[in-house]
Symmetry: C2
Subunit: 443 residues, 2 copies
């Protein structure tokens, strides 16, 4: 468990370092590695694999070519702790070494922009390609990436971000109080619309489809969008408040384009896509064709990150999607039903609110979800230092003892209390919706 | 290490089970899980998270809705081994249990097609979504998926596969003898073309760009394609043999479309894309617009698979890309420079050659690469039981002591010997290219 603690500390430090690249002609990436090799030799193998080298010297790999194209080790910080067991299988020890010492190290590599140009798909192959399979390593994790300003020129970033989302949702300083249609799947269009009506009447700001619900035969996208938007438009006509509904349009390019156009034409104000389903190129294309905020769902994130010495940190990963155009980024939530620590959740959410480039911050609004209810408001606000967020409580609203309307009210009251620095139980004394929420979700 | 052995055995068994789904209206997925909960209770949590459940019961989750939409446990096979340490952090134990037993189990879940319809992007959110983060599990890995025939109707599969690739490359029974342009990056268009000329003259069948080389400023795609195809077309005019060159066009949709059209118009016969860079939707779109075989590179595969109790098995993962249209799928190679075991490589390659559907096999040609040379031919052929493959040797051709031409000759001779059941060293007696290859790459 000491290792996990150390990792959490390390990631927090990485985050605080900020996003500026030291040389505007080079890409930088930070890794945490674990190896029984001399860490510098191992880092050189990484640099070689991801640029001009291969497993043997080849003709043409001249000093001039290497100077032009090779990845460089910019920093190497060896941790002074011996790691008893390899974190991952398949690693080898240096030849002839009988009792090797296994250590972890932080490595920063850099690449010349001339290798790939400002291309997100090719950036991924460069900083997160074959290297995870190298057998010099029993652990290799991408902790951060820093990109030169040419990337900011090549990609649009979020079209709406915090300000655009607040404007469309008509929400001033509080977080957007949101929910997910639950049950996740199983409702048809009419049942979805009926629940939307209940939630609108309860004063909710934001509703999203579940990531499991896109265009199944039992709940076709077009019918759902029409039924839901009739309710939302009717509510807006009566009250002046247009609830933001993130329609999950995850699908192929033509499907997403057609669904987006339908939502826009119906007066909808948000679309949603699953990042690991559409992929980077699907997301880039979606941003190009979209006139609406893009709510980015990260389902599948676990397989990219849950092994502590493998894969991606969220700090590195979220930069790709923000640059590609995601307006809202899922980050789990405090005390969630998932395996992630609260510290990691806060680090992720803060990363979304940290500017990527000096002239182009690409801020995405973090979305807190999974087991969320009124009780997490104070901790979330304290950790994030901002209320520029969306909170989506599914069961935390739908399963409120007095029904969804009380669920919305109780959750908003929790945030009102938090932002007024009033303890929840004090604020709840005169407010039964909050009081019952705190009781119902205490466990 | 016992665990890894067990896993390898398990995966082989899974592979042998084949690809038929038991109920044509349902999707099936097999997982390996690790938990201190009653495995059935834990499996129910997975099924709930990935269908109609959430962390508390919600209104509307009626018995009728569950019958219609809930995921079902189809099989549960608890392993009779206690696992001393959790494979992944973040898991919890059942409440009130002080000394829990941690076990692994194989679970098969199924979902009604009515939840998502035949959509690959939404399939991914369903079978490989949030569940990896559930804290009931200290390990969760997707081992296989089986899809109803409606998926075969909805997606095209490979346009060329083995037969189309052999026809375009003019290669009969042997594997396609191939190489990767090395150094991976650093050559400009003219140097790439000059090396292509050397390799054509040496009689090579197949050349690919490195995955690090797509459209960098130092080697722009269009200039490279024009320079290389001048050489290949000239060689074809003189000899009648058109070498297949997989141009790495990884990029955004419009870029890939334009690059594909250029390659096709220049008379090229193959394009290449990095799967984890373009994503599923990018790949589906590429297949839709492509008139050429698609060479699918899996760089980044390590972060999806290297933790034994997390992520994806290749057996499950490759099905998505084959159905989406990949003609060639990378599988590493025997005795490679990577961490994967030879057994795993062979399991992956055999999966690519195993039909997905009765009427639509979607066979993709496995591509063996990474540290490949003449020496691996017998083991590869013995393991795969087929020569329907592409072998790409980078250093294994380029760094041959007598140069790339001898590298190609030696590698082809190794396969000739193998397919004639002649030991390599015997065949090498009169063949210096093979003899020197065996000596040079013996380590």
């Amino acid at each position: 468990m000491a290792v996990y603690g150390m990792l959490a500390k390390f990631r927090t430090e990485m985050h605080v370092r900020g996003h500026a690249v030291s040389d505007p002609t080079r890409i930088e990436a930070d890794y945490l590695i674990e190896t029984t090799f001399d860490p510098r030799v191992a880092a050189e193998a990484m640099a070689g694999e991801q640029s001009s080298g291969t497993f043997v010297p080849v003709p043409g790999e001249t000093p001039e070519l290497k100077a032009r194209s090779a990845a460089r080790i910019e920093a190497l910080d060896i941790q002074d702790i011996e790691i008893p067991q390899p974190s991952l299988p398949g690693s080898v020890n240096p030849k002839g070494v009988t009792d090797p010492i296994r250590r972890q190290a932080r490595v920063t590599l850099s690449w010349p922009m001339d290798n790939i140009g400002p291309s997100l798909p090719n950036l991924v192959a460069t900083v997160a390609g074959n290297l995870f399979e190298l057998r010099q390593f029993s652990g290799l994790r991408l902790d951060d990436i820093r990109l030169p300003a040419t990337f900011a020129e090549a990609y649009p970033g979020p079209k709406f971000g915090v300000a655009g989302t607040r404007r469309l949702a008509g929400v001033g300083d509080l977080p957007l109080i949101g929910t997910i249609i639950k049950p996740s799947v199983g409702f048809g269009p009419d049942e979805t619309a009926a629940l939307t009506r209940t939630l609108c009447d309860a004063g909710i700001d934001f509703i999203k489809d579940d990531e499991l619900q896109s265009d199944g035969p039992h709940c076709p996208f077009d019918e759902r969008a029409r039924a839901v938007m009739r309710v939302i438009n009717d509510h807006a006509d009566r009250t002046g408040k247009k609830v933001m509904y993130a329609f999950n349009l995850t699908g192929e390019i033509d499907q997403m384009r057609r669904r987006h156009d339908l939502v826009r034409d119906l007066g909808g104000t948000c679309i949603m896509a699953s990042l690991n389903s559409v992929g980077l190129v699907g997301m880039i294309e979606l941003r190009r064709i979209s006139d609406l905020p893009i709510h980015a769902h990260r389902n599948g994130w676990g397989y990219l990150s849950r092994a502590p010495m493998l894969g991606w940190s969220y700090v590195a990963w979220q930069k790709l999607w923000r640059l590609a155009g995601a307006d809202h980024m899922h980050v789990n939530g405090l005390q969630s039903k998932f395996a992630e620590t609260d510290e990691s959740v806060i680090t992720s959410a803060r990363a979304c609110l940290t500017p990527m480039f000096h002239d182009k911050p690409c801020i995405a609004m973090p979305v807190f979800s999974s087991g969320q209810s009124a009780k997490q408001a104070p901790g979330t606000y304290a950790g994030l230092g901002s209320a520029d967020l969306i909170v989506t409580a599914g069961g935390g609203i739908m399963a409120h003892p007095d029904g969804p309307a009380a669920g919305v009210t109780g959750l908003r009251e929790a945030w009102e209390a938090t932002m007024a620095s009033v303890p929840l139980d004090e604020y709840a004394r005169e407010r039964p919706a909050l009081a019952k929420a705190l009781e119902a979700y205490a466990a």
